[in-house]
Amino acid sequence: MLRLLLPLALLAAPAGAAGLRYAEDQAPPILNPIFGSTMPEARANELIFESLFTDNLELATTPALAESFEVSPDRAGMTVTLRSDAIWHDGKPVTADDVVFTIQAMKDKGTASTEAGRVAWIAEATATDARTVAIRFVRPESRPEEKLFFKILPRHGFSSTVVKRTDPFKNRPIGSGPYMFSSFNEDNSITFQKNGSWRDSVGIGELTMREVADKNYQAKLILYESLEALVRVLPRDLAMLQNNRKVELYPYQTNSWWYIGFNEARAPFDKTAVRQGLAQLVDVGNLLAPVGTGDLLSGPFVKSSPYYNHDVRPPPNDARAAGDLLTSAGWAKNGEYWTRDGHAVAMTLVAHQALESAQEIAVNLQSQLQTAGIKLNVDFLDDAAWRQRVWRDRDFDLVLSQWTFDRNEDIREQFHSLGSRNFVGYRSPEVDLLLDKARDSLDPFARKTALRQVHAKVAADQPMVFLWTLDSYAALSVRVKNVVVHPFYFFTFAPQWQLK
C-alpha cells in the first residue's frame, strides 16, 4: 500500500498556499454591485468596491470613500466630501461625478438595479466640485450616512446611466477597494489580487473564491487545508472543526431570521385563528435542535436588535389551545385527523433547495403536523421554480425561508401592504402606518418605538411562525491572523488580515 502511495508523494505540494482561499456554494456569474442580490456577490463586492461609508470595528458608521459630511439643518439634504487619495484600480481618481453617476444609474428604470431600493430615499445628487456631492433627500433623514453603504461605480466604466447586466464591466470590474478583480477561472473560481495602491496596507496578497456547491464538503476542505476560510460553518460541522488544531472558529451575529410563512391570499390561511392555531402546533425548539443553536424569536427582528420587542413572547407549543383556535375557525377533529369542510386537511410547504438544513426542518415539521393530524407535503424548488411559485404565482400554503438584513433592518418590504417582498400577502393598515412612521421619523427613539409596536402587532397577526436566528461561526485556518469578520459583508476588515 505504502509503495503504491509513494509515487503520489512525488507530486507533493509546497507547504502552505500563497493566498487565502474561501468557499462559496455558488459563484456569482457577474460582478457588478448594482445587480448584486446574493451573499456571495455581496462578499466579493466588498473586496473590490467601496462605499461612501462603512462600519468600523465597533460596527459604528465611519467614512470610507467619504472624508467628511454635513447634513443641512432641516435634514433635507447633505454634502459629502470625498477623500483626496481615493483612486480606481485603473489609476483614475474617484470623483463626485462617480458618486452621482452611481446614484443615477441605480435609480434609472432602464437599469432595473436590484439595489434601487437603497437610493429610493435620494431625490437628487449633484457634483458641486470634483470632490463634493450634494444630496437632496425625498423626505428629511435623521442619519443619512447610515444609508450610504451602497458601492460606488466608476463613471468611465459605462456609456450611460442605463447599466445592463451584460455590459462588459461585468467581466472586468473596476473598483477602488483593497482587492482588484483578477480573473474568472474555468472551475468557476474567482481570483482577487491585492490593490497595492490602496490607501492602507493590505495583508494578504491574493484571495480566491472557490465554488464548492456541496455545503457539507466545505468543512472537509478546510480540514484538508484546501481552503483557509469558511464563511459559515454548518452546525453539524462545528464539533469536528472545534476539535481541530488547524482551524479557529469565529462567532458572529447576523441580522438573519428564519420563518414559516402562511399564504394569506389563500384560504384557510386568511383567518388569523388558523394561523395562530397552526403556530401553536409547531414546537420551534424541537425544530431548531437538529439544525444548530440560536435564539427563538417572537417577531421580525433578531434579539440583539434595538427594535426587538422583548415584551412579546413566542407562541407556546400548546396542542389544546391550538385545537380551540382551529375549532373556532370551523375545523373539526375527525379521529386522528383535522378536517375542514368535510375534507382531511393537507397543505404544501415550499422551500428553496439551497436553503441549508431545510430538509431536516421540513421533515421534522412534517412529523409534528402529522402527529397533530395535519398532512404536510413538501416541495424543494430551484431558483426559477422558487421565483415563479412563491414570488409570481403565490402558489404555496406555507413557505420556509429566511430573511437577511443589513444594519438598517428595514422590514418595510416584507410587511407593508405594498411591500415588494410581501409574498405572504400580509395586510394591516395599522402596521402600514407604523412602518411609514418609522421610515419618516427623524427621532431614533420614535423609530424604535414604532418598530417595536410593529413587532407586537405582527406577532399577534401571525402572518408567519417566527422561528430563530442561528448562531453563526466562520472558520479560518490558524495561519490567518488578525481576523475580525463583519457579520454581513464578511470581508470589511479583510485588509488587516495576515497569512502566516
Binding site: L11, A13, A15, A112, R165, L221, Y224, L381, R387, Q388
Partner: protein, 287 residues
C-alpha cells in the same frame, strides 16, 4: 435540441425568474430574451439561427457572452475527456472480455452510476490521502484535496469515472466478447486458418469495426455522464455548463450545448460507419 427546449419550457420558471428583481425586469427583458414568444416560434427561430451558425447569447450563466464562444471554449475540453474515456472503456472492455472473473468485477463496478462513483472516489481518495499525510507516510500531494485543486489528477479521475461508470465498461466488455466470438467463427477467418495462414493481423484489422462501433455507442452515454462528472469534480466544460444552463433556464446556451452533443454523437456514428465500410467489404454493398 428540440427536446432540451421542450423540457426547459415545461420546467417551472424561466431565465428572468432566476434574477432577483424578476418582476421589475420582466417588462424590460421578456422581448429582448425572446421569452414572450410561444415555444414553437422560439424553437423555429433558434433552429433557423443555428443553421446559419448563429447560436445567440447566454442569458444568465455568462450574461451576454456569445454561446458559440462558450461552446468553443468548454466543448473542446469536454470532447477530449469523452474521447479519452471512450478509448479507455474500449481498451479495458476488450482486455477484460477474455477473463470471466475480471469481467464480472468490471460489471459490478460499472453498475454504479457516475454520480455515485464520483462521490465514492473523491471522498475515499481524500480520506485515505489525508490519513496518510497526517501520519507522515507521504508528503501532501499537489492534487490534494480533490476536487478543489486544479491539477491533472482531477481530470484523470474524471476520465476514469466516465470510462467505468453507468454501465459503460460492462457494456463494452459484453459487446467485445460477443464480437470477438463472432469474428473468430467468421467463415473468412476459418478459411484463413485452414490455409494455415496467420489470423492475428486479420483479426486485428476486423476488430477495428466493433471497436469503432463500441466507441461510437459509448459517446452518447458518456455525454450524459459528463454533466454529473464535470459538475461534481469542479471541471469547466460543456457538461458543467449544461448543468448551470438548465438550473438558470439559459435556453440559448442549453440549446447550443444540445446541438453540440447531437453533432458529436452523429459524428461518432458516421466515423464508425466509415471505418466499417473501409474494412468490411460486405458493408460496402453492390450499389
Amino acid at each position: 435540441m428540440v427536446l432540451v427546449q421542450c423540457l426547459l419550457a415545461l420546467a417551472p420558471g424561466d431565465a428572468i425568474d432566476t434574477l432577483p428583481n424578476a418582476d421589475e425586469l420582466r417588462p424590460l427583458l421578456e422581448a429582448e430574451w425572446g421569452l414572450d414568444e410561444p415555444l414553437p416560434a422560439r424553437l423555429s427561430r433558434a433552429l433557423g439561427r443555428a443553421l446559419g451558425g448563429e447560436l445567440g447569447h447566454s442569458l444568465t450563466v455568462r450574461p451576454g457572452s456569445p454561446v458559440r464562444d462558450l461552446l468553443g471554449h468548454a466543448g473542446g475540453d469536454s470532447l477530449l475527456r469523452v474521447a479519452a474515456a471512450a478509448g479507455i472503456a474500449v481498451v479495458l472492455g476488450f482486455s477484460l472480455s477474455r477473463h470471466a472473473t475480471m469481467r464480472r468485477g468490471a460489471e459490478l463496478l460499472s453498475a454504479l452510476p457516475a454520480v455515485v462513483l464520483a462521490l465514492v472516489a473523491v471522498h475515499g481518495i481524500n480520506a485515505g490521502t489525508f490519513a496518510c499525510v497526517e501520519r507522515g507516510w507521504i508528503a501532501r500531494p499537489a492534487w490534494f484535496a480533490l476536487p478543489a485543486e486544479d491539477h491533472p489528477v482531477r481530470m484523470l479521475l474524471a476520465v476514469a469515472i466516465l470510462a467505468v461508470s453507468s454501465g459503460n465498461l460492462a457494456q463494452v466488455a459484453a459487446t467485445a466478447r460477443a464480437d470477438l466470438d463472432a469474428l473468430r467463427a467468421a467463415p473468412f477467418v476459418e478459411a484463413e486458418r485452414a490455409r494455415a495462414g496467420g489470423v492475428s493481423s486479420l483479426l486485428a484489422r476486423h476488430l477495428l469495426v466493433p471497436v469503432t462501433r463500441a466507441l461510437a455507442g459509448q459517446v452518447a452515454v458518456l455525454l450524459g455522464s459528463l454533466v454529473v462528472v464535470e459538475h461534481g469534480l469542479g471541471l469547466g466544460g460543456a457538461g458543467a455548463l449544461l448543468f448551470h444552463a438548465v438550473r438558470l433556464r439559459d435556453w440559448p446556451l442549453a440549446a447550443g450545448l444540445a446541438a453540440l452533443a447531437g453533432a458529436t454523437v452523429a459524428a461518432a456514428r458516421l466515423a464508425a460507419e466509415l471505418v466499417e465500410v473501409l474494412i468490411d467489404p460486405r458493408a460496402r454493398g453492390t450499389g
